[in-house]
Symmetry: C2
């Protein structure tokens, strides 16, 4: 195996592939990059068993400056190799495999020999039958993930809740739902036209967050391939594989009722800023909750911690309807919900002090609903 | 105590004062800010026992937007208070002490009450007799620190070596020396004119690094006050106190001989880049050292680790004189020495493979000399 390549491009491709590997790997062999050269492309692979990334660098790509002299493959320790490549002095690197699974990197007056491993030791990635895939806009996908994945559980006590429930109906209705049983976030969108096949899967929220950072805005579209145990998101350069979570996701539709007694609309930013102050004091004390008091004349938020201090916030409202209400909740949930909301105003609907309340964009521009469970206080 | 102040300015002053407090404090009361208002200024104090910072905000400073209604003082938990101030909604903050050592902060529609402590619990800072101080250029001071402090020891086995030896002769010769017994850095400069009093002290290198980050380039000059146990660096706004290290510093002058057998001049950047690659491989292996081979025709660096790989670097030289030589050393020391060197070229002088070698700026523009001890190999 021998090829020469542009250092900056190679480094960038390696960094993206490295995202699948992470900082520590339970399976030692997975701390390596797999590097393969074919007649016209170099393929980089990284995996942690849950997520796998393949990056394909072709000779046609002018930025890559790739010239392959002979094919081959090798495993190289990912972190170390990345640092070595970053340290090389010139814009171009010559990469050459020699005997005993070694690689010689030459760049300017620098020559570095690295010990590698035989690719036979590396697990094979699943291959997907080349059925007609579903095309998705990358920016839409990233937005849907940022609106839902944060609400998934981080606790392993109910593994299924660490995932995001993704469904696509045959009519092309795409829905993502995540909940940790204290709060829930659900986003729906209609894809244009029918889809090849309906889908109902639970994806690890960690995988989805990685997916968001792997595909940049430069990639306009990804193709989605399905199998029973994995999904593959594919752009011309990057293939992103993720395992699915096993088990059935709870029925969340029954949680979302359209009844309400009290409706408040206010500026997203103003409410978030007030909640951030409430969080600082509630977090520093045993309290942990903020109390929201609403009448038709005044909306205010309060934290009272005998040890740390007090917060009193008056919250300017855009509109208020229904009966007055006082409700207590963990301000963290409201802060995270408001962060996920891109709209200028937020519409909050309450049933009673002990029933979950919902948040939707004030302008109803998106089919995006969030739910937060209050805390019972005396 | 009551005053109103510009939020941005207050936050910046608190952040600088906070540098003395650090993230954890052995003495619990020192995790607080001391905040005092006099008739015309607010004084912030932070300390970790080793370093103390006083920040004086005056009513005259237009950026501070300070208006004091009544004097007083209080202690407030530093981290928490800083976060609270940062979270406030408006450009102006009203700060008011109420009974039971509490403070009420008001900003826009937000009102936050914080529990504080009585200032009697806070230790008193040393006061300095108002003798005629020594004026020093801030940028010069920062430069001298960056050229020497890194070479001090981080090991507590010989506490005196964790300091930087600072001497000023009556003629105004200022000298800073630091060594961890493996390498040494010494920088000398002539202050303009005579100084009020000669000085011979050892300052904790940690204090000096804090000092560098506390005084920005916006402060052109600091005044230096001496006492037997502390130094005070003072600008109109900031007073930076540091304890001195006790004990006598070793005589380092005898280590710096002017003899040499071999002299190499090369580009600082080229040598540093080669050493960074050598470090990556030597660090990943048991080797830990790089071998520099010099003849009049070729200078090259080599690492050979049976486990990890090999590095071979040819280093372009500007000039070479004397006899050929091969020497081994820890590349980290050379990298750090070259980082401290601002000149484009570096002059390295060797006596023998087992004697320390020296580095000076290639253009001899500064009285700056560094020394690195080689590693004996077979």
């Amino acid at each position: 195996m021998q090829f020469s390549i542009n250092k900056t491009f190679f480094l960038q491709a390696l960094s993206i592939t490295k995202r699948a590997i992470g900082s520590k790997n339970a399976i030692p062999i997975l701390s390596n990059f797999k590097i393969e050269a074919t007649a016209d492309a170099v393929l980089l692979t990284g995996s942690n068993g849950l997520v796998s990334i393949e990056y394909q660098i072709t000779q046609e790509n002018p930025k890559a400056g790739l010239l392959i002299s002979s094919p081959g493959s090798i495993l190289l320790e990912a972190n170390f190799f990345l640092n070595i490549v970053a340290s090389l002095p010139e814009a171009s690197i010559d990469f050459k495999a020699i005997d005993h699974h070694q690689v010689v990197l030459t760049s300017g007056k620098s020559e570095i020999t690295l010990k590698g491993k035989d690719v036979d030791q590396y697990p094979r990635l699943k291959t997907f039958a080349a059925k007609k895939p579903l095309a998705l806009s990358t920016s839409l996908l990233k937005q849907l993930i940022s609106e839902t994945a944060f609400a998934a559980s981080t606790q392993e006590s109910r593994p299924i809740l660490t995932g995001v429930h993704l469904t696509i109906s045959e009519k092309g209705e795409l829905k993502l739902v995540a909940t940790d049983s204290h709060r829930l976030s659900q986003r729906q969108v209609n894809l244009e036209g029918a889809v090849p096949k309906a889908l109902d899967v639970v994806l690890p929220s960690r995988s989805l967050r990685e997916l968001s950072s792997v595909f940049s805005e430069a990639t306009t579209q990804v193709e989605l391939y399905y199998s029973d145990t994995q999904l593959l998101f594919k752009s011309p350069e990057i293939s992103f594989y993720t395992r699915l979570l096993e088990g059935s996701y709870p029925d969340t539709d029954r949680l979302l009722s359209s009844q309400f007694e009290t409706e408040l609309v206010c500026q997203t930013k103003i409410l978030r800023s007030a909640m951030e102050r409430a969080f600082l004091v509630s977090h520093a004390s045993q309290t942990g909750t903020v109390k929201l008091e609403m009448t038709k004349d005044l909306v205010s938020a309060h934290v009272n911690s005998p040890e740390v201090g007090k917060v009193n916030e008056e919250i300017e409202m855009e509109s208020f309807s229904g009966s007055g209400l006082t409700i207590s909740f963990n301000p963290t949930y409201l802060i995270e919900a408001l962060k996920a909301l891109k709209s200028e105003t937020v519409r909050i609907r309450f049933v009673s002090p002990v029933r979950p309340f919902t948040l939707t964009p004030g302008d109803e521009s998106e089919a995006f609903i969030q739910l937060i469970t209050p805390v019972r206080t005396n």
